[in-house]
């Protein structure tokens, strides 16, 4: 087991965002978190990456308690890649520098090796010709693919994807989803928060439905999305179908 969250509790002021939540993710497994806005999907990802602290419980990565205050968050984050809804590329750096910054400054790898690996990844996702461009010259889909490459060149054990297609125009969603499907074939362990039910069905080994900071239902995509047991899951999916997103 690669990631294990046990009885995680997280509050923002009086607002209970994660309520005694437990979730385990095996190596090479892809888990899709679904649920309405405010259900805790993004917060859970941010907690796993230690971008925000938890109020109770334990999160383990490779068996190590990463929520122990004595653990060094910088060392933990080196092993986890994260991609954000709004890409968050560094606007003052070229695409190539965005990708090579962490391998250079954090992992202290040789410049030539980093460059080769970065260019290989950029070619693989069809962006080699954009290496010297600045992010503001790229479309949203291109920026998001660069952001994913930026996380991947650090060879993370785990990749967290926080609604990576939510800010994209519909015709650009496909190129990002294709890339993530390729990562699944490579065996990358991923936890992704998503509103794309069709995509969750295709790529996830397990779908987890969150509501009010709790896991309401979890299981294979065909079951959770096709034949949900819990009334709240059904309600949620009915609303999604109504909105034409399934």
């Amino acid at each position: 087991m690669l990631l294990s969250c046990q009885n995680v509790r997280k509050t923002f002021g009086t607002n209970l965002v994660l309520d005694d939540l437990s979730l385990e993710v095996d190596e090479h497994e892809v888990v899709a978190l679904i649920g309405a806005s405010g259900s805790g999907k993004s917060t859970l990802l941010r907690c796993v990456n230690l971008l925000t602290g938890i109020d109770d419980g334990v999160i383990r990565l490779d068996g190590e308690d990463i929520t122990d205050p004595r653990a060094d968050p910088d060392l933990v984050r080196r092993r986890i890649g994260m991609v954000f809804q709004s890409y968050n590329l560094f606007p003052h750096m070229t695409v190539l520098r965005n990708v090579t910054l962490a391998p250079d400054k954090v992992h202290k790898r040789a410049a030539a090796e980093i460059r080769d690996q970065a260019m290989e990844w950029l070619s693989r996702v069809g962006l080699a010709d954009k290496a010297d461009s600045y992010p503001d010259r790229l479309s949203g889909g291109q920026q998001q693919r660069v952001a994913i490459v930026r996380a991947l060149v650090n060879n993370p054990r785990l990749l967290l994807l926080d609604e990576v297609t939510s800010a994209l125009d519909p015709e650009l969603v496909g190129e990002v989803l294709t890339m993530i499907r390729g990562l699944k074939d490579d065996g990358m362990t991923m936890v992704l928060a998503t509103h794309e039910m069709g995509f969750a069905r295709q790529v996830a080994d397990r779908v987890v439905f969150l509501d009010g900071g709790r896991i309401i239902e979890a299981g294979p995509p065909s079951q959770v999305l096709g034949d949900p047991v819990e009334p709240r899951t059904r309600q949620f999916l009915a609303r999604i179908i109504e909105a034409g997103r399934l």
Binding site: R46, N49, L51, P73, D74, L75, R77, R78, I80, G81, M82, F84, S86, N88, L89, F90, P91, H92, L101, A102, K105, V106, H107, D136, A147, R150, A151, N154
Partner: protein, 286 residues
């Protein structure tokens, strides 16, 4: 087989031709109008000044070419002091401001005294009038009679650096805070430490954004460096004052004023250019 794409030949329609002609007529009209109104205002101003009863007297006591020529070398020598002081004080104040701004962003209990000192410094020295700081540094500090006391010029420069450093620190801090938290989250998620995040992600963006206001403060500093003459060193304004006292003629002040404007022009030009470029970049980025 395929022929290259050929756009259809385009001829403006009658409507469009009529619009182009109309716009051209409008442009000519507004150019003529602005030339005419400038001329009228210019003549009226010249008439009001030169036609005033005291013009001859003012002309001889403020715009005497003889006196201007006589004292120009003295004033230029004073200006050289201004320039040297400006360069050194600008660099030192920028460094001090950046340092203070970064210190103010430090989190963690250990840094509390540093943070408190930095905050207290920006509060105190933005409130204190520059002249008082100058007097304390140039008259008060030498009074301590410490060994190796630097010259009054250095002490005056230090006073300028400390006061302007406080202003620049606030400009830098505004720049740092304007960088969106998502940029920090992205940098930290890659494993960069706080220090690396500041160095590679936050500061480069912050400095770019606040370059126009920073340069604006440098233009202000350019005028204030002359205040060290209150403590003795002779700058351009002080040289002009001495010359004025000798001949009871104010022309040297006008000479010094023109020199200051000439000195400021390139800096103001750079400021405008940088501001324009920043605005263009931002609109391209959105």
């Amino acid at each position: 087989m395929s022929t290259p794409y050929q756009p259809r030949p385009y001829e403006p329609s009658d409507v469009q031709r009529e619009r182009i002609a109309y716009r051209r007529r409008q442009t000519i009209r507004s150019v003529l109008l602005s030339a005419l109104s400038t001329l009228v205002v210019g003549i009226a101003l010249a008439y009001a000044v030169t036609g005033s009863p005291g013009w001859e007297r003012v002309k001889s006591s403020f715009f005497d070419p003889e006196i201007a020529r006589e004292y120009l070398p003295d004033i230029l020598q004073g200006l050289w002091l201004n320039i040297r002081l400006l360069v050194v004080c600008t660099l030192a104040a920028l460094l001090l401001g950046l340092l203070i701004a970064v210190l103010r962003t430090l989190r963690g209990a250990v840094f509390f005294p540093v943070r408190a000192l930095a905050t207290g410094y920006t509060y105190a020295f933005r409130g204190l009038p520059l002249i008082i700081v100058l007097y304390v540094f140039t008259f008060g500090v030498p009074g301590l009679r410490l060994q190796g006391m630097p010259s009054v010029l250095v002490l005056g420069g230090a006073a300028l650096v400390i006061v302007y450093g406080a202003y620049l620190a606030e400009v830098f801090r505004a720049g740092i805070e304007s960088v969106h938290p998502s940029q920090l989250a992205a940098a930290r998620s890659l494993g960069l430490t706080y220090r690396q995040t500041m160095r590679h992600v936050v500061l480069p963006q912050a400095v770019r954004r606040v370059t126009p206001p920073l340069l604006n403060d440098v233009v202000a500093l350019q005028k204030d460096v002359g205040l060290v003459s209150l403590a003795g060193p002779i700058d351009a304004v002080r040289a002009a004052q001495i010359a004025t006292a000798q001949d009871a003629n104010f022309t040297p002040y006008i000479v010094a004023g023109v020199l200051f404007v000439l000195l400021a022009l390139p800096l103001i030009g750079i400021t405008d250019w940088v501001t324009l470029r920043a605005a263009r970049r931002q609109s391209a980025g959105s």
